[in-house]
Amino acid sequence: MALANSTTRLGCGREIDEVWANADAPPNAHELECPDCQAARASLTELKTATHDLRSRDQEDPNLRLSADLVSKITSIARAEVRRGRRIPLRPGPADGEDADLTVSEQAVATVIRHTCDQQPDIEARRCSVEIADDATDPDTEAVAIRAHLRISVAASTTSPGRIDDLRQLIIAAVQDQVGVTAQIVDIDVEDVHDA
């Protein structure tokens, strides 16, 4: 095909993009007459076919992906550098008291909260943060109190007005049962709606 040097314009003045865009359609009046466009169409059609072939073959080729060992190595690196956040004491009391070593990470509490959401088919947990509540001890149970902030997406089919309150109670119960601290405040923001 006749191409002017260092430009993407054909000898007849058309841009190669124009020919590419029309390559799947029958040739227009100009292309029927123009030898530059005819040659460009032929080579671009072949390129299109070869591109499709290369793309399909690459996607199907089991060799063109990471080995399982390397995937494991990458995730091991991530786990070694995991950000667990600050430690939350499991027993109230002074920081240098005998129970001071009994702690749980913010990350671990957040995992319990996310897992609780995962068991609800209409709820998708997104960002979740956990910190010690302003009143660090629950006055009723004397357990350590935490505050959680959770953002969720709710299935579009969910219509129950009490759904968020129900979820909050499930989270409070799970944190109490599995961690042993009181989720004194559970802020839940519905930031999205998704198809179930």
Binding site: E46, L64, R79, L102, V104
Partner: protein
């Protein structure tokens, strides 16, 4: 108390709730992995959930490897580039403002890494995309979609594809990156502009020049 007391974690109930030992997201336990949107996985990984990050690795390792392999043409270098990309992704995830931009963002990191490798590469290695490794792999098996064609048609298809692979490997790196991202990875022009860090008009020009060079370069094989 700080994170420097892992024995406390092991000795307490936290061992049952830490992400690494949670029932969700363990490799191979796909039945326990919840079906979540990518935004949710990204959000969770941003919060330090290694299981969520693992899901993202499994989702993207194939396509990032194909990108790196088409850019670098060497399996070992492509593996290194993808591994380094994921480590950077994990470390910088908390800085990602819009989780819906995750795909464009990891392509940005991976493409920059490949271009940096190519920049550092010595002149003698610039044609490495035709390495024995590459040739051996491309010839090990017939592509699935060639089945059913006659042997001559299949041979023709293979020859045309191989000519494309060879000419592609000779394109200037930035041109090759634009073409590969657009044609093989479905990135949009704005996403490619972001990935490479050039204006949209430059992306448009490079893809047009890549098509022109590929079409011209394949001519001798016809």
């Amino acid at each position: 108390m700080t994170d420097s007391a892992p024995q406390v974690d092991d000795g307490l109930r936290t061992v049952t709730v830490e992400p690494a030992s949670s029932s969700t997201g363990r490799p191979g336990s796909s039945s326990a992995v919840p079906r979540l949107s990518e935004t949710a996985w990204v959000n969770r990984a941003q919060d330090g959930d290694a299981s969520a990050f693992e899901q993202l690795v499994r989702t993207y390792e194939g396509e990032l490897f194909r990108l790196a392999y088409r850019m670098l043409g060497d399996r070992g270098e492509a593996e290194d580039a993808v591994q380094e990309t994921f480590v950077v992704v994990w470390r910088q995830l908390p800085t990602l403002v819009d989780p819906q931009a995750f795909r464009a963002w990891i392509y940005h990191i991976a493409t920059r890494r490949c271009l940096n490798v190519l920049q550092r590469r010595s002149r003698q290695r610039t044609d490495v995309t035709r390495s024995d490794d590459f040739e051996a792999e491309t010839r090990t098996q017939a592509p699935l979609h060639d089945r059913g064609e006659g042997p001559e048609a299949a041979a023709q298809t293979t020859a045309v594809r191989q000519s494309l692979e060879q000419v592609l490997a000779t394109l200037p790196p930035e041109q090759r990156a634009c073409w590969v991202l657009y044609e093989l990875h479905d990135l949009t022009y704005p996403e490619i502009a972001f990935a490479i860090g050039v204006p949209l008009s430059t992306v448009r020009g490079r893809i047009a020049r890549a098509r022109q060079n590929l079409a011209k370069g394949m001519a001798p094989w016809r």
